[in-house]
Subunit: 388 residues, 2 copies
């Protein structure tokens, strides 16, 4: 295990992010951007807390066209926000259903309204509105002259390309993920309930250095699993099962996201074949994952191999995605996504297929796009289905 990366970021990292955002804002005609969601608030401020899991309170970070960000947050977050680089912190005693930040936002955004300027809000793909819709409508009704414009594409453009410091965190958690998968044969034995395999996996990841394992799904069934998003059952592992575990573990707020397959006791031919196809589909992806390749091309490179066994569209809709502060981020390796890969993008390759009688199989690796061949962050899966 290499040295543990420092937590947090240098102030210069946030200054760079803001400078880039403001250059894009000038270019695309945004006079300000109001951010409401955890990854975006964290990206520009460094504010990191699990408290977002409480749905009770909204949190806001405003990026002006020039100058520094403004935090509009519940008082309970003042101390923690005060330890970030953000200096303009405006708080209210939340929760307050009658005015959960609305009048503070109204004051902040009043000048934009007065001069009929353009406010960016995330309204696009893979976003949501993390405040009550009723409050949003009320806020905007009070600012009738503001022009609201979708800022998803601008934010996406910034967040998709990771800095060296971000890549160091991602590399670290991916290494922890790989080490954790290496321990699976120690606890995934015939007779062990799948639920206990999950708990043992989480404990192992924590021992190895993960901060948390927020995402862990998988399945185990005779001769192949049927579903890839289930919580675990009490069913004990049996000889002849194919076990899949897919994890998103975190270090300092950055995710790994990859899975591994294991056969318990013995592997059936169909599952071995499916595994081989997916391994080679990943290889095909790795061979074209270069700066300038589009996500659509990456998708087709993998699909071409998958088609050997499964010429139907898998219903997952894509074969990989971006990775960072969220388990899944833009872009998508899919027919619809013509994003060109760039150096510094961290992505998953996630080919999947259906085989046999409704069985499904998934594979996944995590990598950084760089000049030349990509750098794998996950340790490459074994070329043949491992048997425990």
């Amino acid at each position: 295990m290499p040295e543990v990366p420092a937590r947090g970021f240098e102030r210069s990292e946030f200054e760079t992010r803001l400078t880039k955002a403001q250059a894009l804002m000038a270019q695309h005609g945004f006079d300000g951007i109001l951010l409401l969601s955890e990854p975006e608030v964290r990206y520009f401020s460094g504010f990191q807390t699990l408290f977002w899991q409480s749905p009770t309170r909204p949190w806001f970070l405003y990026l002006p066209r020039s100058g520094e960000p403004v935090a509009v947050i519940p008082g309970i977050g003042a101390d923690l926000m005060g330890r970030t680089w953000v200096r303009d912190i405006r708080t209210w005693d939340a929760p307050n259903p009658d005015d959960d930040g609305i009048s503070l936002l109204h004051d902040l955004l009043g000048p934009l309204n007065a001069s009929r300027q353009t406010l960016g809000i995330l309204k696009g793909h893979e976003t949501g509105l993390r405040m009550p819709l009723g409050d949003y409508e009320r806020l905007m009704a009070g600012l009738p002259d503001i022009r609201v414009k979708d800022a998803t594409s601008l934010i996406r453009q910034l967040r998709m390309v990771k800095s060296e410091a971000e890549i160091a965190k991602l590399a670290h958690i991916c290494a922890i993920g790989s080490d954790t998968f290496d321990t699976v044969p120690e606890f995934a034995r015939e007779g062990t309930p799948l639920e206990d395999v999950f708990r043992a996996f989480r404990r192992s990841a924590l021992s190895i250095g993960a901060d948390d394992v927020p995402y862990l799904v998988g399945g185990a069934e005779q001769r192949g699993y049927h579903d890839v998003i289930s919580p675990p059952s009490r069913r004990p592992l049996q000889t002849g099962d194919v076990l899949m575990l897919d994890t998103g573990a975190t270090f300092d707020g950055y995710f790994c996201d990859f899975d591994r397959n294991f056969a318990i006791g013995r592997a059936d031919d169909a599952s071995r074949h499916a595994y081989d196809v997916l391994w080679r589909a990943t290889e095909a992806g790795l061979n074209v994952a270069r700066p300038g390749t589009t996500c659509r091309e990456l998708f087709h490179a993998m699909r071409a191999v998958i088609a050997e066994l499964d010429d139907q569209d898998a219903n997952v809709g894509r074969l990989g995605h971006g990775l960072g502060m969220q388990l899944t981020e833009w872009p998508s390796h899919a027919e619809f996504d013509d994003t060109a890969l760039q150096e510094g993008m961290v992505i998953t390759l996630e080919p999947s297929l259906s085989y046999g009688d409704g069985r499904t199989m998934v594979h996944e690796e995590n990598l950084v796009i760089q000049d030349g061949a990509p750098r794998l962050l996950s340790r490459r899966a074994a070329p043949e289905l491992p048997v425990i």
Copy 2:
């Protein structure tokens, strides 16, 4: 540890929830309700997966005024939704930024639009819009004659009162939480970095039977901590620290949410006093937490004790809240909330105060409202600040 409750719910539980919802819909003039958020979709369908952590895909469950629910979901969820009681499952190949369920929803809601009926959406306090705002606006623009009405109060009314089966799960995870706090003296020693205390806590909770520990915050500083929502630092515990850990662990999708304080080596007088005040504030809350008491009354009963030491409003804004499928749920023990407690409500009592030079302290217990004195689900904190 009592017997582990069964996972999931009987079909009759979902039928009861739907029947109650439809009775309220008739009473309050809703012709259908469209649900988008994880707890609500799970509440009415039983669909449970960590896959919601991926922000890429929206998920929808529609409750008609009569008849059964309709799921409109990404294809990747079809297998898992097919194992719930929901029979009408409509899927699309997601992600598809051009049409992520929108045309399916348009077809589903067309009849409401044609007859100018009323559609419920969660727009109120403690809710968010878990789909792209742009898609929501596009959907509604295509259904111009539908009357959209906030359904928050209706859903809140149902979810706040827990069934016996829900209470069994909550009691189980609270018992696991209590057992986990009992193990803290084993790993919270002078010289141990706080980050490692957090990992050990998570590992301990998993060993004892938690499915996961999605929420763990806390602090440790000399003679009292200053912040209650931070992630852990690398700073080693020192004699004279007050350590606080606040956890939301889960079993079968239900949370505990309580904290415990510990003095490392020795306790200073001010912290011992603050602890005593908060312990008695909780006691005052327990003494009035009866069916018919309002959350405002509960708030004032605790504030009256807290005022012995801290007559300023703490900036947390409330002194406890509901608990269930989310770490924090309606109602709020706060000045603004006049919800009357009812049998079957599961709540936290969470008095907090400021003392000394900007230090803060929190206490928390979890309980069920019932006829007579409430039933504690967390084991009552020690009456004096425990010293490790």
